[in-house]
């Protein structure tokens, strides 16, 4: 009897946790998105799915923009992270752990604080742009803050470790003898990289994409701190609808829409890479 119950008992804490903090909020949110009313007189469930149509038509631009920012961020991250991870994995020697620690060091400071620091660096007359303006390289109204560049730069900076680490783990696991074998079989370094190292590192890149594209697309801090009204992301809209307008149905409808779009995106991406099971690859 005991042996039969054991697996269930083991899953119980996690299961309850998921029920309480995932299933219940999801059902509540789904319900909210189909309610009508106002904050003073309350919201009542009416199955009003029109909210989805209205919310998407009012904020489709922000939704699309968020996906674009997320995608650009992810691509830049791959380009930036791969060499870093490669260098640490193959040339880090005994100090690998130190380099990884250095990489993570800035992230011991709070997320919001780090992002706000960028404001001081990029501000219109700050120590970067100020001197450039003084010597006349830039016009007096040139600015970086409030542009898509600043937002994507912030996203890249904040999500860097989430790309470097999985790629590093995948590269670190490559047996050096496999690379040696490739060289012995007359592959030049470029070919060995392209035909041996890259395919073996792909699962790490895949995991990195999952861990950066999804949160970067739904991020609302970077755009709020570094952006302007031209860079509003969907996360900011959802946040404002919940926490400034108390318009719960619109906020919930947008949350569900975003989730659906991201899920479809991730599965399409998995399909394109020819993997049957996204999570299996990510977990490898």
């Amino acid at each position: 009897m005991r042996r039969v119950l054991a697996p269930y008992l083991l899953i119980l804490p996690g299961g309850l946790w998921l029920l309480l903090f995932f299933v219940v909020p999801m059902v509540t949110m789904l319900s909210l998105s189909l309610q009508q009313g106002d904050i003073v007189n309350g919201y009542v469930f009416t199955g009003h799915w029109q909210t989805y149509v209205d919310a998407i038509s009012a904020y489709r631009e922000q939704l699309f923009r968020s996906l674009v920012y997320g995608a650009v961020t992810t691509i830049v991250l791959i380009v930036v992270s791969f060499p870093v991870a490669y260098w640490i994995a193959f040339y880090g020697g005994r100090r690998k752990a130190t380099y990884l620690f250095l990489l993570l060091l800035p992230f011991f400071v709070s997320f919001v604080l780090r992002t706000i620091s960028w404001r001081y660096i990029l501000t219109d007359d700050g120590f970067v742009l100020g001197p450039l303006k003084d010597i006349g390289l830039l016009g007096p109204s040139f600015h970086l803050l409030g542009t898509p560049f600043a937002v994507v730069a912030g996203l890249v900076y904040n999500f860097l470790p989430f790309m470097v680490l999985p790629v590093y783990v995948a590269l670190e696991r490559i047996d050096p003898r496999v690379v040696e074998a490739a060289r012995d079989l007359y592959a030049d370094p470029a070919t060995a990289f392209r035909r041996v190292i890259l395919p073996l590192a792909l699962p790490g890149v895949f995991a990195g994409v999952l861990m950066t594209f999804v949160p970067a697309s739904s991020d609302y801090v970077n755009s709020a701190v570094l952006g302007s009204s031209d860079t509003t992301m969907i996360g900011q809209v959802i946040q404002a609808q919940y926490l400034a307008n108390s318009d719960y149905p619109t906020a919930s409808a947008l949350s569900f829409t975003l989730m659906a779009v991201l899920l479809i995106g991730v599965f399409a991406y998995a399909r394109a890479l020819g993997t049957e099971d996204v999570m299996k690859v990510a977990a490898r």
Binding site: G37, D38, Q62, S228
Partner: protein, 419 residues
């Protein structure tokens, strides 16, 4: 009913024979779906709406204040730039009454503040503050209509009765001061940095000037933003219609689409002005003065030719306050003429106590040098003591009759702020 054809069996029997049977799996699926349906329907958000809020029961005051005792501590939620950082008035209050004050600058914008404390108030829990200063407008009405504001006891406000200007006892949003008494009034106008704009700013239309491309700030508060959009078109916000709102929204959209707007700000606009992120921005009258005093900047504030709006920030006590008695004592303390004068001297906002003017003149006579000049200027400043002619130029916020009307307003202006 047409006769049943002979060759067919009874329709009832037919239906019974051909109807799909529910298998176990179907039953499970069905019960799952109906459970989800039930759960969805059960998740409604209860409203706190109280249609009688503006005319509370005669005994509401007595009922609320019965049994309230002093705890010797007040938690006070206010806005940044609304008091001398040294807090001389609060120090004096504590010295005289023994009541400690925990003053926090936690309110940056009305919408987020209401959304933040609404769930706690709806659940009947304390929000951690006994006193909060809130602006008249959409959220003031939401606070009031939700029954979140404690009815004030006039017997506990003798200084207010004696010293407040008559106009502040008859404000449209809370006539008779049932739930609120003013902290200060202010004017929403334009602040600018003349060194950067290169010329004096006089009109609302200057906020649409392509010369300041990417350097113009507007408020993210939909009422503040919408008001300027209307006034630049010559529409009085107080009497506007939904048609006017759409016109104003189009005008504001144009400002944004041409890249003139840098961003939409809450209280942080003043830092943006300080850092040179914006050169010209919508602004609240007293902030610029305080910024100049504390940071040595030289920004200008102007009431635009086309008009400006006047608002009132009000002392209110949340119903769930732990220490309402000390809170109302503090409210009345600020209506002492010397305290009202001291506050106005620093914040440079319109004071609801007219007698403060003579007090400030007296303080000026007693001071010397730069202080003297500064105080004399405040005593004569139209931003602290507007004349009748000044008031005539100012518009009031629009009062929304129904939540539906207010939602329509927000749905017109919100998409502009949220780019």
């Amino acid at each position: 009913m047409p006769p049943t054809p002979r060759h067919l069996p009874d329709p009832v029997l037919l239906r019974g024979l051909t109807q799909r049977r529910l298998g176990r799996r179907d039953a499970l699926r069905l019960s799952g779906l109906s459970a989800l349906g039930l759960a969805l329907a059960a998740c409604g958000v209860e409203g706190q709406g109280n249609p009688d809020a503006s005319a509370p029961a005669a005994d509401a005051v007595a009922k609320y204040w019965a049994g309230k005792t002093s705890t010797k501590k007040v938690d006070f939620a206010c806005w940044p730039l609304y008091m001398d950082p040294e807090q001389p008035e609060l120090k004096k209050f504590t010295a005289e009454t023994g009541i400690a004050v925990n003053y926090q600058e936690v309110i940056q914008e009305m919408g987020p503040w209401f959304a933040k404390v609404q769930p706690q108030l709806a659940a009947g829990q304390s929000i951690g503050y006994d006193l909060m200063v809130i602006t008249n407008g959409i959220q003031f009405k939401q606070f009031k209509d939700s029954g979140f504001l404690a009815p004030l006891d006039p017997a506990k406000l003798p200084n207010f009765a004696k010293n407040a200007a008559p106009a502040y006892k008859q404000e449209a949003f809370d006539p008779g001061n049932v739930y609120s008494v003013p902290w200060a009034s202010g004017i929403t106008g334009i602040a600018y940095d003349e060194k950067r704009t290169g010329r004096p700013i006089t009109k609302l239309a200057d906020l649409w000037d392509p010369a300041f491309k990417g350097k113009v700030g507007m408020f993210s508060d939909t009422q503040e933003l919408g008001n300027f959009g209307m006034m630049v078109l010559g529409i009085d916000p107080d009497e506007s219609t939904a048609e006017d709102w759409r016109k104003a929204a189009a005008k504001l959209k144009e400002q944004k689409d041409q890249g003139i707007i840098r961003n939409y700000y809450d209280q942080s606009y003043i830092d943006a002005l300080g850092k040179g992120e914006v050169w010209i921005t919508q602004a609240w009258s007293g902030d610029v003065f305080q910024k100049n005093v504390s940071d040595g900047t030289d920004f200008k504030f102007v009431i635009p030719e086309e008009g400006a709006t006047i608002w009132t920030d009000n002392f209110t006590i949340p119903v769930t306050a732990a220490s309402p008695l000390d809170a109302i004592t503090l409210i009345d303390f600020f209506y002492r003429v010397d305290m009202a004068a001291s506050l106005a001297e620093y914040i440079n906002y319109v004071t609801p106590v007219p007698a403060a003017r003579d007090q400030i003149r007296k303080d000026a006579a007693a001071a010397s040098g730069e202080d003297k000049a500064g105080l004399e200027e405040i005593a004569e400043s139209p931003l602290v003591f507007p004349t009748e002619a000044d008031y005539a130029k100012l518009n009031y916020y629009r009062d929304f009759a129904t939540p539906a009307e207010q939602q329509e307003y927000q749905r017109i202006f919100e998409p502009i702020v949220l780019g």
